[in-house]
C-alpha cells in the first residue's frame, strides 16, 4: 500500500509538466493514461524504474532532473563526478598544468584519471542495474583562470570538498546497502584528494575548520540541494541539475 500512495504525486506531475517529445505525457496518452500508471504501480514498479521510463528534461526550467530513489542518488553522484572529470581534463590542457612542478602534474593527472573512472563507472553501474544515466552535462568553467595556480587549485579544493560533503550527506538517503558501499568506496578517495589539494595550497590544512567541525571532529555534510546550488554555478543552462525528487531523509 505504501507504494501506491507514494506514486500519487507522480500522477499529478504528469498533468502539470511540459514534456519534451516521447516523455511521460505522450506515453500516458498512448498507453491509457492513469490505467497504465496504476498498472505499473501494482506491478511493483519502483520509484527508480518509473522515473527512468519518464526520463525528462523540464523544458521550462531547463534543469536535468537526477531522478528519485537510489538511481537518483547514483545519478546525483554521476553529475558531480562528470563535473570533476571535466574540470581536471581541462586543467590538463591548459597553461598552469603545463608549467606546474612535476609533483603537481603527477597529482593532477591522477585526479583526472580517478574522476574520469568514477564518472564512467557510475554511468555503467546505473545502466547495468537497469536505470538510465542522466545525459552528458556541459560544464561552465568561465570563472576559472586555468593559467593561474591559485585559481586552478582553489577550484579543485572547492570541488573535492564539495564531493566529500555531498557523499556524506547522501549516504543516509540510499536504500540499498550495496549502493552505500559503492558511495563509501568513492568518498574516502575524494577525501584523500581534498586533503592533498589543501596541503598543496597550504601544508597542514587537510582538516580545516571549514570542512571538519572543530567541536566534534566530524566532517560537515551538505544536502543535495546545497550541493546542487554550488555545482550549478559550474554548469551551463540546460545542464544544471534538479535534485528535488531525491529522498529527503
Amino acid at each position: 500500500m505504501s507504494k501506491i500512495t507514494h506514486k500519487t504525486p507522480e500522477a499529478e506531475n504528469a498533468q502539470e509538466e511540459v514534456m519534451v517529445p516521447l516523455q511521460r505525457r505522450s506515453f500516458l496518452r498512448y498507453s491509457g493514461a492513469g490505467l497504465a500508471l496504476t498498472g505499473l504501480v501494482l506491478a511493483g514498479c519502483d520509484d527508480d524504474r518509473l522515473n527512468d521510463i519518464f526520463k525528462k528534461v523540464d523544458r521550462r526550467s531547463g534543469l536535468v532532473n537526477v531522478g528519485s530513489g537510489d538511481f537518483g542518488i547514483l545519478n546525483y553522484a554521476y553529475a558531480l563526478e562528470q563535473l570533476e572529470a571535466a574540470y581536471y581534463a581541462k586543467v590538463l590542457q591548459n597553461q598552469y598544468y603545463l608549467n606546474a612542478t612535476k609533483a603537481e602534474r603527477i597529482i593532477l593527472k591522477d585526479l583526472a584519471d580517478h574522476e574520469r573512472i568514477h564518472a564512467q563507472f557510475l554511468k555503467a553501474a546505473i545502466k547495468a542495474a537497469g536505470g538510465m544515466p542522466i545525459k552528458d552535462l556541459t560544464p561552465d568553467f568561465s570563472s576559472v583562470d586555468f593559467a593561474n595556480r591559485a585559481s586552478v587549485l582553489g577550484t579543485a579544493k572547492a570541488f573535492e570538498d564539495l564531493g566529500v560533503s555531498a557523499y556524506n550527506g547522501a549516504g543516509k538517503l540510499i536504500s540499498n546497502p550495496a549502493h552505500l558501499t559503492i558511495a563509501g568506496k568513492i568518498v574516502s578517495v575524494e577525501a584523500r584528494h581534498a586533503a592533498l589539494i589543501r596541503d598543496l595550497i597550504q601544508f597542514g590544512t587537510f582538516v580545516g575548520p571549514d570542512v571538519v567541525d572543530p567541536s566534534n571532529g566530524l566532517e560537515k555534510s551538505k544536502s543535495p540541494a546545497e550541493v546542487a546550488a554550488v555545482a550549478n554555478t559550474f554548469l551551463v543552462e540546460g545542464s544544471k541539475i534538479d535534485v528535488s525528487n531525491l529522498p529527503k531523509d
Binding site: 556524506n168 563509501g184 567541536s215
Partner: protein, 300 residues
Amino acid sequence: MNILKIITEIEKVDPEVYERLDQRRQMFKHFAGFGKKVAVAAVPLAMGSMFQKAYGQSGGLSKQIQDVLNFALLLEYLEFYFYDMGLKSAGLNSGLTGQNRASINTILEDERKHVAFLRSVLGSAAIADPTANAFDFTGAKGGKRAPLFADVFTNAGTFLAVAQALEDTGVRAYKGGAPLLMSNNTVLEAALNIHSVEGRHVSHIRTIRRGGPQAEPGNPQTMPQSWISGNDNGGPAPAATAAVYGPGNPASMFPGEENVVQAGINVQGLSQVSPSEASEAFDEPLDMGTVLAIAGNFIK
C-alpha cells in the same frame, strides 16, 4: 587487554556479539528485500523514537549499532593513545618537529573528539576506556613476542609508518561498518562524517611520508601516494602491514585494495587505465574480524 577481553566487554552488553560479527549474514538478514521506505511506512513510531534517541541514549540504539559503534570506539582509542604516546615520547622530539608535529597534534585532537563523540552516542553502552596500558605499539604484545616496530616511539619514520597503517585500517573499518548502521540515519551520517576525516588524516600522513606535497611518489612502501595504489606492495612494513591492504573475510565481499572490479564492472577495462589507476579510484571496506586481527597487533 587482548581482543578477546574487549569482545567480552562488548558481550556484557550484547550476548550475541559473536553472531553479529558475521557481517554479511546480518546485512542480508536485515536488508535483503526489505526497503528502508517500507520499514519507515510500517513502523513510523518505532523509527521516530529511534531517531530521537540516537544521541546519548543507548536505549534507542539496536544491539547491532551498539556493537559497530563500540568497535569504532575501540579503534578511536587505539589511534588516540598511539598519537598521545608518540607526542609525549622524548624519543620523537628531534624527529617529529615543526608542521609535522603540529599536524600529528591536529590528528590527535580529532581522535580525542571522535572518542568523546562516540561515547556520547553510546552512553552507558560504551565500552570502558581501555587506557594506554592496554596497548603496545611496538607490536610485541607486552613482551609476549618479538616487536614488529621496536623503534615506533624513537624513530619518526617508523611512527609515521604505523600511523599510516592505523589510519588506512580505520578508513576500511568505517567503510565496512556503514551498511550495518543503515537502520539509523543519524548514526550512519555521523559514521560517514568520521570516515572521511580518517581519509583526510591518512592522506596527510602519506604526504608527510613521501616528503611533502612537492615530493614525487616513489616506492609505495617508503614514498607512497596519498591514496592506496594496488595493495601498496603490502604497505610500509609488509610483514606486519600487508593485512591492512589485503582481502577481508569473505574476500568476495571484502577484496584487497588492488581490486579493480566494482559492482561487477571491471573499471580498468571500462576506462582503459592501468590496474594501479583503477584500484586507486576506489578504497575497499574491511570486515570487523579482520580489522580486529590487525588492531590486535597493538593490543597487549
